[in-house]
């Protein structure tokens, strides 16, 4: 009798242990599984859209818009920014150094590796941030993160990476995983008086209209950045995209390149791994 009681105790303990282990495994962050689920969700939702075409945002969702965009691409509205960016990139700083000295491979064809997690700083480093750090290290004043020079420089760097798949890494560092998780939380968290999250538009409603716009899918949404937006009558960076999204839902935007936005960019870029860089882009 005592033996049977002891055996049942052991069985119960083992069962409890197994349940706890399963729960822990389910709660443990798994970016690779997230990325697969993210990709599967959009592929299933839009079975007629070729996977690589998601980087074209609303144009992958609407035939009429696509035709207009293809016509516009004959003389793309971002061309002036691209030319300006190329010239700026090649112009040395006052100290004789240049942007090329700050980046791997002289900054050519590296866009797809940004953002990355800097284990020294313990934070996510975006391309915009890296460009301004490069300027400051070389005695130059930083640029605004949202448009103008920053948009031109990132346009040129994106152009040199066109066709290269996003290759965002999460190093074996708990801080990197935490940054990724925080980015995910930001993406799904409702905010602003309209009570919208990023996912409300770009997961629940891609392809649907919000006023005159067609919402882009979240997957591949950063691959075309920076973009010329007709609504802005000019170029805008990822920072501009994030801050205006927040304003549109009546939330006070955070400061560009705040930790939250850096983590969000890290998450969104990671789940788009494998999709080609298509920037600079043009959007209505």
């Amino acid at each position: 009798m005592r033996a049977r009681f002891a055996l049942s105790l052991v069985v119960t303990a083992l069962a409890l242990g197994a349940v706890t282990a399963a729960a822990t495994a389910a709660d443990r962050p798994d970016p690779a599984a997230d990325a697969k689920a993210f990709r599967d969700f959009f592929v299933k939702k839009f079975p007629k859209v070729k996977f690589e075409d998601f980087v074209n945002g609303p144009y992958s969702m609407n035939e009429d818009m696509r035709r207009q965009w293809e016509d516009k691409e004959q003389f793309p509205p971002y061309e002036f920014a691209l030319e300006a960016g190329k010239e700026m990139f090649g112009t040395p700083f006052k100290n004789g150094k240049s942007y090329a000295d700050c980046f791997a491979n002289g900054g050519i064809g590296v866009r797809q590796t940004y953002p990355y997690f800097d284990e020294q700083e313990g934070k996510v480093v975006t391309l915009e941030l890296a460009l301004n750090k490069c300027r400051e290290t070389n005695g130059e004043a930083p640029y605004s993160y949202v448009k103008d020079e920053m948009a031109s420089l990132t346009a040129y760097m994106a152009y040199t990476s066109r066709g290269k798949p996003f290759d965002i890494k999460i190093p074996n560092d708990p801080r990197a995983l935490e940054a990724y998780e925080k980015g995910k939380e930001y993406f799904y968290t409702r905010r602003g008086q309209l009570n919208f999250s990023c996912a409300s538009c770009h997961v629940q409603n891609p392809g649907e209209r919000i006023r005159a716009e067609i919402l882009a899918p979240a997957i591949g949404i950063l691959n075309a950045m920076p973009i010329y937006r007709s609504e802005w009558s000019g170029m805008g960076t990822i920072s501009r995209r994030f801050t205006t999204c927040n304003s549109q839902i009546r939330g006070v935007p955070l400061e560009p390149q705040s930790d939250e936005y850096r983590d969000l960019e890290y998450y969104l870029s990671y789940v788009s791994n494998g999709l080609p860089i298509s920037g600079p882009g043009a959007r209505p």
Partner: protein
């Protein structure tokens, strides 16, 4: 692959917004408001908005209501100033509620 998209109306948020607006409307003083009334109402709103700021979740409409309260007070229109300040406080409290409840609720929307 499943996703647990939260499609139900956000009733909790609606209730708190409604209650907050009714509170702001119902709390209008019968007598004309004084500068002291404005200062008290503004301090309460400002404090709630600072808390929303700590939660990184301020709303543009709260900021606009605070600015409107200040502007009305500058022209000694304290009835309007108090009303705008109370509206700001209600909005700030709703944004605090949103930020607090979303600490866990965001997971309902996650693609899994």
């Amino acid at each position: 692959m499943t996703t647990t998209m939260n499609k139900r109306p956000n009733t909790a948020m609606k209730k708190i917004m409604f209650a907050a607006i009714m509170m702001a409307a119902g709390a209008m003083p019968a007598r004309a408001a004084s500068e002291a009334d404005f200062k008290a109402a503004f301090a309460a709103a400002d404090s709630a908005e600072k808390e929303a700021g700590r939660l990184r979740n301020q709303w543009t409409t709260t900021e606009a209501a605070l600015a409107a309260a200040k502007k009305a007070a500058e022209t000694a229109n304290f009835d309007q100033a108090v009303m705008s300040a109370r509206e700001a406080e209600a909005l700030a409290k709703a944004s605090i509620f949103q930020a607090t409840s979303e600490k866990e609720r965001w997971k309902d929307m996650e693609i899994r």
